[in-house]
Symmetry: C2
Subunit: 345 residues, 2 copies
């Protein structure tokens, strides 16, 4: 299968995206892969597959590689001798801003490029944790209680300690703190506000059971990965999570009942349907007293959660045959014609 | 003031956008205006101000004008003799798809172009009427009861007739029907599904009072237009609404109490705050038994609702000085460096 992998982006998760792309290069052996890097200035580079190493980017060696621009239906490489088009399906593997906030999705929609990844509206509901809460409420999926804090207005918290403070629009545990009592609050808020002007505060549930499951829709049917119980160390710090993004070994299925597995999948499907079509996403759940709560939606999970799938390559192939198509409006100018003739001009 | 007006787009409201742009040309006399047209194939054209007439586009004369592309911070006109940049603030005046669905917002965010108009997340919550309902619920703004119908699944309606059927993602009354009894339902659904695979059904409230108010935030403060009671003819059909988009005469203030005016503005502010910054929007409300219900958010109202403002030019100037700035992530490659050295490569 032919596939272009887009990675990088202007985001705190830029480096994580590079690691994800390198991991997928290994996992997708046999695929006809093209690598496109988006640097922090939003310039696209065509990366030679043999140069897909982390230090190519940290050393700035990508700057010597060919630049690409977007045109209708393709990335284009222009040179003195004309231009070469790179067509076909793109896998959006930019984590965080750009990739998960709807920017890349909109760019590809505008330039009519087929892509695996969340569409604009799916991005908005998963990137901003406030909007994930709105989605849960509207779709009858339970989640943890929350309060919103904004840098512009002072508000007293009504949640009891311990609490967890998170920037509204960042993943990968960046800027996240657990606050055990009031003395730790200011520091946690300052850390959070470094990354976002809006923070989400939730009760921190000690020793909560956590389960992750990935999935996608193809040919009108949901496909799920195995359910994983992630290793926990209170919560993953950035560096541990970073390593996590390079995972490629298949993990063991969580030892849970069929009933709980079904509940997790039913909640996943409620979130996914009519919103995430075209994307392979991972939903992270908490289970408290047998009740399933959505913790987070990862619309572009690290290395595409390949380690959760029994046949990752086939999953991507199936998904790529079921990408949403947008209907184009026909523009006939009939109103302008009719009004022009009514006005006699 | 220097301002670029972007209009057109691949949308059922393409022609309406042209009319809006022509109207603004008149209303913004004295401004240093540049006109950029986005055609149905997503090609940008620089339109000579003297050619800003509806039939320039319906006759295809724009195709003889210079093509523009997007680059970092500007629209660019390339020619044999080099390239010319068109910098400065853009007013996004593309109604419907492209302009109001987040595509243009994301494009401008990606290319670091300052713009007046809704950001990506604001678009998602106003373009899709389902998500407007989610927003109302989350922000404690009342709205009309609703059900969602999808072309993929059959569902019996529980709302009593008369009802109003609307495509979830279209404005300007396109595809909207009032259904008085079951015999009219199939036709209404078919009309709606012509435009969208998802429909919203609401009770049709006979003779409901309707009030529109526009506004924006500048220097941290809300500014509101006068409140208008729109003329009604059951509901505006496309052609009447089309004419409506060329409005430029100031309207009369609705004859309502100060208390109701305050209630309308308070609801507007709940919707606007922390979401619509950078945009001048119009909210259309219903009032039923003294209760204010949000009917619709117009994040790019026809001809920017100029006719509702006592000083439209000053309003645009104020707004243009308060556009949101995005914070760029600093990319240091420190994780790649630290991991590379840990691994000894």
């Amino acid at each position: 299968m032919k596939l272009t992998i887009l990675f990088g982006g202007t985001s705190f998760e830029h480096e994580i995206s590079i690691v994800s792309a390198i991991t997928l290069k290994e996992k997708l052996s046999g695929f006809d892969l093209t690598f496109v890097f988006c640097d922090q200035d939003h310039i696209f580079y065509l990366i030679d597959s043999s140069k897909m190493r982390a230090n190519t980017f940290s050393k700035g060696e990508h700057k010597k590689m060919p630049k690409l621009t977007l045109a209708n239906g393709a990335f284009v490489q222009k040179s003195l001798f004309g231009s070469k088009e790179y067509k076909g399906i793109v896998l959006n593997l930019i984590h965080g801003a750009d990739g998960e906030d709807g920017t890349i999705a909109a760019l590809f929609d505008f330039f009519a490029i087929d892509y695996i990844g969340p569409r604009v509206d799916a991005c908005v509901f998963s990137y901003d944790k406030r909007y994930t809460k709105y989605l849960c409420e509207a779709r009858d999926v339970k989640s943890v209680a929350y309060e919103v804090l904004s840098v512009d207005e002072h508000k007293n918290l009504s949640l009891a300690y311990p609490i967890i403070v998170k920037p509204a629009r960042l993943g990968s545990s960046i800027g996240v703190s657990i606050v055990r009592d009031e003395t730790q609050l200011d520091y946690a808020l300052d850390s959070g506000y470094e990354y976002d002007s809006v923070l989400l505060v939730e009760p921190f549930i000690e020793g909560v059971k956590e389960y992750n499951v990935a999935g996608f829709k193809a040919d009108g049917k949901m496909y799920f990965s195995i359910v994983e119980e992630p290793q926990k160390n209170e919560f993953l710090d950035f560096e541990k999570k970073y390593m996590d993004f390079s995972r490629s070994e298949q993990v063991l299925k969580a030892d849970i009942s069929d009933e709980l597995t079904s509940k997790l999948k039913a909640n996943f499907e409620k979130i996914y349907t009519n919103l995430f079509e075209g994307a392979l996403i991972r939903c992270d759940f908490f289970v408290v007293n047998g009740e399933v709560l959505l913790n987070e939606i990862n619309p572009i999970p690290g290395s595409m959660a390949n380690y959760l799938f029994e046949d990752f390559k086939d999953s991507l192939k199936m998904l790529s045959r079921s990408l949403p198509k947008t209907k184009k409006a026909k523009i006939s100018y009939e109103y302008i014609h009719s009004i022009s003739s009514a006005k006699g001009k």
